[in-house]
């Protein structure tokens, strides 16, 4: 599971997709593609964006929901939290019996 998250985060385009989903939740594939090309000048194909989304979804970082005929993508930050918790532990209590 963690390997999938690291692999997903290793790619700059996928990090940009996560940035965009963090800024605006619930985007269609068309909207993600438009923002990548208009805002970030990333001229990548719809198929490539679709594949990036599949990697992010497999890692649990992106979730999709169907609403009627439409499919929307949202960011799920839970796997990131698990990564940070792996190395950062809460402080030990001052006094232990």
């Amino acid at each position: 599971m963690a390997d999938d998250v690291f692999k997903a985060l290793a790619d700059p385009t996928r990090r940009t997709i996560l940035d965009e989903l963090a800024e605006s939740s619930g985007q269609t594939l068309f909207e993600i593609c438009t923002r990548l090309s208009m805002k970030h000048r990333l001229g990548i194909s719809r198929q490539a964006v679709s594949q990036h989304l599949a990697v992010l979804e497999a890692a649990g970082l992106v979730e999709t929901r169907r609403e009627g005929r439409y499919k929307f993508h949202t960011l799920n930050p839970a796997p990131l939290k698990r990564i940070t918790e792996r190395w950062t532990r809460p402080d030990q209590p001052e006094s232990t019996p």
Partner: protein, 129 residues
Amino acid sequence: MRIRLLSVFVDDQEKALRFYTDVLGFVKKHDVPISGEDRWLTVVSPEDPDGAELLLEPAGHPAVAPYREALAKDGIPLAQFAVADVQAEFERLRGLGVAFTQEPLEMGGVTTAVLDDTCGNLIQIIQQP
């Protein structure tokens, strides 16, 4: 060469005519019976009545349903209409009960939004500087 006519497939021509005129604000240009209940039904912009026509074409052909379903799933609009103010138009249309898959969003100088035309298609509205 100029663009004369473009078509969108619609589930129900009468319902489509009402949406494209009463809600979006286009005006009917041609309405000619073709065969059975089908009509040659076109609308134009009141701002450009001699400009390009939009044909509201019956969606009965078997290729249409899978084509439109696949595009709708990914949120891909089938036409783009220019408006003076996307935010104002979004609020006006939402007030009329129109569903949007993308709310107004500024993207590098242009603002767009994407709405469901209730006839099976997504339509993008755009405001350019």
